[in-house]
Structure formats: C-alpha cells, structure tokens
Point group: C2
Chain length 317, copies 2
C-alpha cells in the first residue's frame, strides 16, 4: 500500500508532521471545507491502525485530569500521543460552552503531544460530528495513539463505541441519581471501568460493586471489563489504568475481535453517511412544501406522506 505519490500537497505536509497544516485541516474538517474532504479521501488508506482510546463518563468525574495524568504517564514511557476533547456546545448557536478554558496543562510544548478541543456543535452522543475524521487526520500525522474525551454531560455517550478501539467509562465513588440513569448502558460501552477520585470515601465499595456487575454481565465476547481505581491528585492507579487499556488492545488482536469491531464501525459509518446524503436530498427537495400542506391540513397523516415521498424517490430515474 503506497498511496503517497498521489497525495495532495496538504496531505503530504500533514504526513511530514507540519502542525500548522494539521491544525488548519482540523478546522477545515470541522467546517466541511472541500480541501479537507479531498485530504481525508487521500489519507484514508493510511489510517485504521491507531489505538483510539475513548474516555467517557458524567460531568465532574475528572476526565480531563485523568487524561492529563495518562499523558504524563505515556510521555514518561516515550509514547507520542494526541488528545481530542469534545466540549458541549449549544445545539443551535454552534459555539463551544467550555471552549476557551485551558484544560490540558501537560507538555503543551512537547512535539510528541498534540491536544485539540472540538465543540460538539449540537451533535448528540458525546462526540462532535467530525471527531472521527479529526482522529484520522491525527493518525495520518503520525499519531498511533489518540485519546478522545467525550462531552459526558450526564447521558451515556454511546457514540464513543463508533470510534474508539478501547472505551474507558470513568465514574466516581458516589454518583447517586446519575449512576441510576447511566447504569443500564454502561456495560455495553465499557471495555475498562475507571473509578476516579479513589481517595473519596466509598471508592472500594464502588470498585467491588462494579466488578461484581461486570462479572454478572459476562459478555459473549469473552472480555470482562476490569475495574481500576485512580486518583489524579496523587497519581494512584494511572499505570494500572494504562495497563488495563493495553490488555484490552492485546485481547482485540489475540481474539480476532479487532477486525470484527472495525467492520461494525465502518458499516455504521457508511450507512450514516448515506443517510446524511438522503437528508440533504430531502431538505433540497422542491416538493417539500407541497408534501407538507395536506399534512398541515390534517388530510394526510405524516407517516403516509413520508411513505409516498420515499416511494417516489425510489421510482424516479
């Protein structure tokens, strides 16, 4: 596989490690600009081998501090690491709510670390719409390890499963109502559980409870999510957390699950992209007003209107 000769100039600069080009391409990707589209198409063959570690969990569990601690640990082991942190933003204005605050203080001048915030821009599910593409740009720029922090505003950020090779669900000893809401979805997402703020009372209990639940939910896949206790105030458990992530990555390789998971993710991606094309088509369809009028007049119900529309799209040449 040697697609380098056909790469457009921006993609070549990206591959050579030019950070200004990387930053610009990320912004262009977020804004759906044509050059970024062309670069993403060209670099796609270079991607798919990176380890993508997603960290998800409710607001206030310390995901950012945990990523800082992981960054430090990984740098001490000589790893290059990129971080993508998704911030909540209004579904309407598109601005980032936390946008300007400094989150990552570790190694910001380090050439082997790259940190980028993205606004979710109203995309639900815990990621921004273009987070996947940004991760691909980072991989093409030579980062074979990318940490992704989801919004984590209270829902289970299920979408992290669509980009991460290992998903870490971060909790704290006492979550009260939150965990009630989250619990049901947690086990379908988590490859690794992290009980952060393990210096708080109740941490041992929380770890035991989660371990028991993880054992009960004995997944068909043959992987039982380990539960690691961490504290970013004194660094407790950070090496163990990283070891748990690496163990899951080894499991993916040894079990053959890596390819199956990649197929699942890519299938979902292609289907979603085809749906987006369809949605664009509908929004531009000149028959829209004519189709809605009888629904508004209560002569045709919405389901029937939708069925007829789809039937006509299929018939049309």
């Amino acid at each position: 596989m040697s697609p380098a000769p056909r790469l457009p100039p921006a993609a070549r600069a990206l591959r050579a490690g030019d950070r200004r080009v990387l930053a610009r391409l990320i912004t262009e990707t977020e804004n759906d600009l044509p050059r970024a589209r062309a670069v993403l198409r060209a670099i796609y063959p270079l991607t798919g081998r990176a380890r993508i570690v997603g960290l998800t969990g409710p607001l206030g569990v310390g995901k950012s501090s945990l990523i800082n601690a992981l960054l430090l640990h990984l740098r001490q082991r000589g790893r290059r690491v990129a971080v993508v942190a998704v911030d909540p933003s209004s579904p309407f204005s598109g601005g980032s709510v936390l946008g300007d605050r400094i989150r990552f203080d570790t190694a910001s001048e380090d050439p082997h670390v790259y940190v980028r915030s993205m606004a979710s821009r109203g995309h639900t599910g815990g990621l921004a719409r273009t987070t996947r593409e940004v991760v691909r740009l980072l991989e093409a720029a030579g980062f074979d390890l990318v940490l992704v922090e989801t919004v984590g505003s209270g829902q289970v950020d299920v979408e992290v499963r669509e980009i991460a090779t290992t998903s870490v669900v971060v909790l704290v000893p006492h979550l009260g109502d939150e965990v009630q809401t989250l619990k049901a979805g947690l086990f379908e997402i988590a490859d690794v559980f992290c009980v952060n703020k393990a210096d708080l009372p109740g941490a041992d209990r929380a770890r035991r409870d989660l371990s028991e639940l993880a054992a009960l939910g004995a997944p068909a896949s043959g992987w039982r999510p380990p539960v690691v206790a961490t504290s970013t105030s004194d660094g407790t458990g950070i090496p163990e957390l990283w070891e748990a992530i690496e163990a899951h990555e080894r499991y993916l390789d040894e079990s053959g699950r890596r390819l199956a998971e990649e197929r699942r993710r890519l299938t979902n991606e292609v289907v979603t992209l085809a749906e987006e094309r369809f949605r664009t088509h509908l929004a531009r369809d000149r028959s829209l007003a004519r189709r809605i009028a009888p629904v508004l007049a209560r002569r045709i119900d919405p389901e029937t209107a939708a069925r007829r529309w789809w039937a006509e799209i299929q018939r049309r040449r």
Copy 2:
C-alpha cells in the same frame, strides 16, 4: 371534517373514552404494532388542536413534583389533563430505568386525569421515539391538554420543541456545572422558565439572572420567556406558572405563530419519517457486505462508498 364513520373499532372506542383501549393502544404504539399504526392514521384528522406543554430540565430539579402540583391546580380549575412522563432507559436493553417507581400520586382515580410513563428505549433527545404518537392518542381520547415530562438527564432535551406547543425549562437555584453545559441551549427551547425549589437560597438571584439573560436573547419571534419561581413543598408560584403557560398559548394564537410552529414541527416529522424508511431500506440492502469490503480493505473511503450507494439508489427503477 367528519372522519368518524371511517374510524376502525379501536379508534371509535378510544374516542368514546375507553381507558383500557387507550392503554392498550399506547402499548401497541410503543411496540410499533400494525393495529396501532392503523388507528394513528385514522385519528390523525382529529388531532392538532390540543395544548401540549413540555417540561424539561436536568435530573433532580423536581419536574415530577411540579407536574403533580400543576395537575392539582388544573383539576381545581376543572380541566381534564393527560400526562406523559418519559423515563431514561438503556440504549441497548430497552428497559426503563425508573420504570416501576410511583411518580404521580395526584388524582390517580380521577376519570379526568390520565398518567402514563414511557421508557425512552435508548432514543436520545429527552423523549421516546413514539411520544408524539402517544400524545395524539391522548388527544383523540378527548384530552385537549397534555403535559409531557422529558427524561432530563443532563443534556438539553431539545426534542421537546418537536412536540410541545409550550416548552417549560425547569431549573433550580444552584446548578453549578450543569447550567454551564445547558445554558447555551436553554434559550432556544424555553417559552417559559421555571426556577423550582424557590425556597432554597439563591432563588431570587437565579430568577433575576435568568430574566436578564432572557431579555438579552430578545427573540425575533416577539415573545420574551417569563421566569416563574415555584416551590412544590408549599405550592408557591404554581398558579403563576400555569398563567405563564396560558399567556404563551394566547401569544401563539394572537401572533399567528401557532400555525408556523405546527408547520415546522410537521415538516421535521415527515422528513424524519422518510429518513427512517431510508434507514430501513439500507439495513435490508443485500449489497451491504459487498460495499463495506473495500472500505475495510482501505481501498475506498467511507464517504465515497456512501456517495456511490446513494447514487445507485436514485438510479434504480
């Protein structure tokens, strides 16, 4: 408009106020059963005139207690009221997390009150996928006032705008991080703000802050969301909250916005239903595996695969 003669038997029983039929039709709607589909089609001409009041806000602000207090207030004024409360549930298992707990203790034997919980079943946005249809069943059953409580698990439940004629955003004096996350989206949703637990310290401050923000965000529509302080422990502000909701409903009629909003909602509904048909079509498409293989082999990027697929669907007769 006199569609009654053509109504199927279940729809006729529904219209006559048969509660067992109503309950069964709601369950059948949630499970997408054909009879419910037929009834929904038949009753659609009977719907579209009810006041649908959506209550949204983060977990723990007391939405359920507030609805109880509103129910009591409305019953004292002789109004018939239906309530639909959406509970969080796992995105995977489909079960309701809070399902069995008793939330509404007011007037459960009252023939002029109907209360129903729905599990969100993994649908994001604060509602269940079929909440809109359930509201239509309630309207056909004679309820011209329906209160809808969203999941409210920390995100802004934007979807309430797609079914409610008046959306009430419920907050409490101190929300900390939560409000940071929510703020940006609040003003695009709220027709009325409610600061609940107004007996807590900081309530006056919260009400002033919100009022100032609401004034700043001066909407093009000409409606400035009022801010009402309530306390369900002693009933403070409940009549004022109801008056604010009615004021917004009057505004909709007097300004002509009611029709515009109904058109927006129905357009979104028809487009979404057409998208669902398309999604079903893709999932059943036999070419799926053949289309994904070159993407998995990194020969074709996902965007290109999606574009080709959509192009072929359009060409096909």
